[in-house]
Amino acid sequence: MKTAADPSTLRRTRGSTATESQAHDVVLQVSGLAVDIRTHRGTVRAVNSVGFEARAGETLALLGESGCGKSMTAKALAGIMDPVCDLADGQIVLNGTDLAALTPKERLKFAGPELGIVFQDALTALNPVYTVGTQLGEAFRIHRGLNAKQARAEAIDLMKRVGIPEPESRVNSYPHQFSGGMRQRILIAMAVALNPRLLIADEPTTALDVTVQAQIMQLLRKLREEGQMAVILITHDLAVVAEEADSVAVMYAGNVVESGPVAEVFADPRHPYTKGLLESVPVHLERGDQLKSIPGSPPELHDIPSGCVYQSRCPMVQDICRAERPALRPAGRRRAENGAATATADLERTTSAGTNDGGATARPVRTAACHFSEEITNA
């Protein structure tokens, strides 16, 4: 593997940019992550050498279309993959421990205190037959050995924390008695119960109304700031990424095709896929105008082409794209060298005031996996 997300690349990145004291910023470091799924047509790779890092107090967005492997990545991180899926390769270093090397039993110790996850579908992710109090308190019972009464008290605290009104009475309600937004809050509460260093939120608002979505995002932001958590936000909503995330990794067909600080990536995409996505959003257009859409659909997992994964839909495809898969390479100009980009980045980072101390040097370089990333023109 020669992608930039290789440990070697990362190490180089860090070695050249970060001092020892800044290393603690990086909560999670994923490299070379690969997940295989066994299907009746043989084993397919759903996630392929994915690498990124998440920093305390910051939000990393994993962006991509449905089926591109976002949730799979999240589940691999959390160690809760379906039985047909195998972690084929890679390291998941959480606070210095490689989770990928642990046995399932050992991993249980990390689930909760170190790493929390919020699921995509709040409707089904809560156990319908138990009160939310029981479910909220379970983490405390498992990891802190509290008794039922203490756990219930903790649950009420948690519900307060995530802004559920009248927690004392609602703690005994069942999931179906809550609205979607409330359920999502409960899921979030559950994930942050033990103040994990890393919070993975898998499309936490996709099923929700905009007004509720705004509430949930506000809550996530608040919690992140309070706990200095690293947040991995999975979504396919560009607008949410633009508003909430510090950095973004764009995924396509199991691969990270572009990553970097949000403002830079969105302002100046270095991968045709990112560009295509940005252009299909109907803004700044007259009504009735033709939207620019990406033709075709993502490749099936079992016939991902050997060259560039995006070749079948790419308007700039060349022979080399069919022959050789582009590695994830630094792309674009470094922000420090680009005044305009810095300005946007500062503005965009409205909430995480403390993280920028290390200066621009602490940030990962922008990377893109395209043979012609330099040739992309952005109007």
Partner: protein
Amino acid sequence: MLTYLRKRIISSALPLVVVVVGVFALARMTGNPAALYLPLNATQQMRDDFTARNGLDQPLLVQMADYFGGVLRLDFGQSLRTGQDAAAMALRAFPATLQLAATTMVLAVVLAVIVGCWAALKPNGIADRISSFISMAAASIPDFWLAIVGIWIFAITLGWVPTSGVSGASAWVLPIATLLLRPFGVLVQIVRGSMVSALSEPYIKLARSRGAGELRVVTHHALRNAAAPALTVAGDLTVGLVNGAVVVETIFGWPGIGKLMIDSILQRDFAVLQAAVLLTAVAIFALNILIDMGYALLDARVRPVTVKA
């Protein structure tokens, strides 16, 4: 809950009446019982006397009206065979069957849950294959045959348990083992199936993400969700037991309602038959209500007072 119960009871009343009317009419289609109760050389006069004495000469509707009149006064008539009060006979036989059925079902459920969970943990694994084979075999062995083999092996050859009868705890072993087999076999498959699907639900992943271990996941999170289908089937199986313990009762000399029913059918002992059917039907309806309440207990979503989403 109470209004719900009341409603259920009222809505069960009509089917109950239908059952009794049906039994009443059907029973009388089986012919005049006179020949069974009179000596073979009985004269026509004696037959007529018998028929008149038991009101069987009346038109069916009149008989039925009489009967329901009696039922309202809690008079269920008398047994032709024993001359006893029909209701008393049914009530006396009922507990035996109920005890047998209840014990059997409790055991079947407990065993099936254990085996079913064990199998569901690793779908298609060795344990799963073994348990599904055992359960299928269990569900497909003719019970009377098993009963007799059981007596032969365990009572005669090994002498561990008595062959039959109701005296002492050891006498329960064979009847229960015989009755147990089918419910156990069926339930294992149901539990396994619903456990497999429960275990693939997102909330199980969520529980794992909280650090819940395997045992906890199974016992705390999946089982209760998987219970409802098992409850439905267990209910149907219990109905089957109450209705169909005849074979076991016949072989083991268990004085239960099933045996009473078949005896009264074969002996055209209408009053007893009707009382027994009514009692059984009431029990079955009660069981159904209990099962509904069981759902509500298991899962708050089906509690009667909730907004339908």
